[in-house]
């Protein structure tokens, strides 16, 4: 039961927000270096995103790992698609691919 509820909640966060970051802590007060790094990259690009704090909800924390078949947090979703975790986002940010992804998906961002 709780598993279905968490899947529903994850799905609706992803449907309702163009850019969603499942993270530990909040964008203003990240509780983990990896979450902080991704939030920082998005902030640098001036991308509007919704942060979902998995520390506030154990079902979401576990559910998001099963949802994406991805064992770690943070997880970044853009327009419903799982983009990656900390390593991938960092690599994409440094190569300019992340900016390109936002452009392709019609998400406003700084150059």
């Amino acid at each position: 039961m709780s598993e279905n509820l968490s899947t529903d909640r994850i799905q609706s966060e992803i449907n309702e927000n163009d850019v969603v970051l499942f993270m530990k802590g909040s964008p203003m007060f990240p509780q983990c270096g990896f979450s902080a790094a991704v939030a920082q990259a998005l902030t640098t690009l001036e991308v509007k995103f919704k942060g979902v704090d998995v520390l506030e909800d154990a079902d979401i924390r576990q559910g998001i790992k099963e949802f994406s078949n991805w064992p770690t947090i943070p997880q970044l979703y853009v327009k419903g698609e799982f983009v990656g975790g900390c390593d991938i986002v960092r690599e994409m940010f440094e190569s300019g691919e992340l900016q390109q992804t936002f452009t392709e998906k019609g998400i406003e961002h700084a150059a």
Partner: protein, 77 residues
């Protein structure tokens, strides 16, 4: 619970037999590693899929006893 670098390498190679694996113990504490994995099996796959293959090879240890493994994957040039 920490893991040995050699154990991580072994698991990855068991899962992805042709993988060339380089492991760095980032802090020398047996808890924060970086792994560079190169394999033909990654050709034509997205980064997310490549990383999922490595996580699969680690059989659920990632995010559990293996706390921090910075991952970089690629197909051979």
């Amino acid at each position: 619970m920490a893991m040995e670098a050699a154990e991580i390498e072994l698991l990855i190679k068991e899962g992805i037999p042709d993988a060339v694996v380089t492991i760095e113990d980032l802090r020398g504490d047996g808890d924060h590693y970086a792994a560079y994995v190169v394999s033909e099996a990654f050709a034509g796959k997205s980064r997310v899929q490549q990383h999922q293959m490595v996580y699969q090879a680690l059989q659920g240890r990632m995010g559990g006893e293996l706390h921090a493994l910075a991952l970089q994957t690629s197909a051979p040039e």
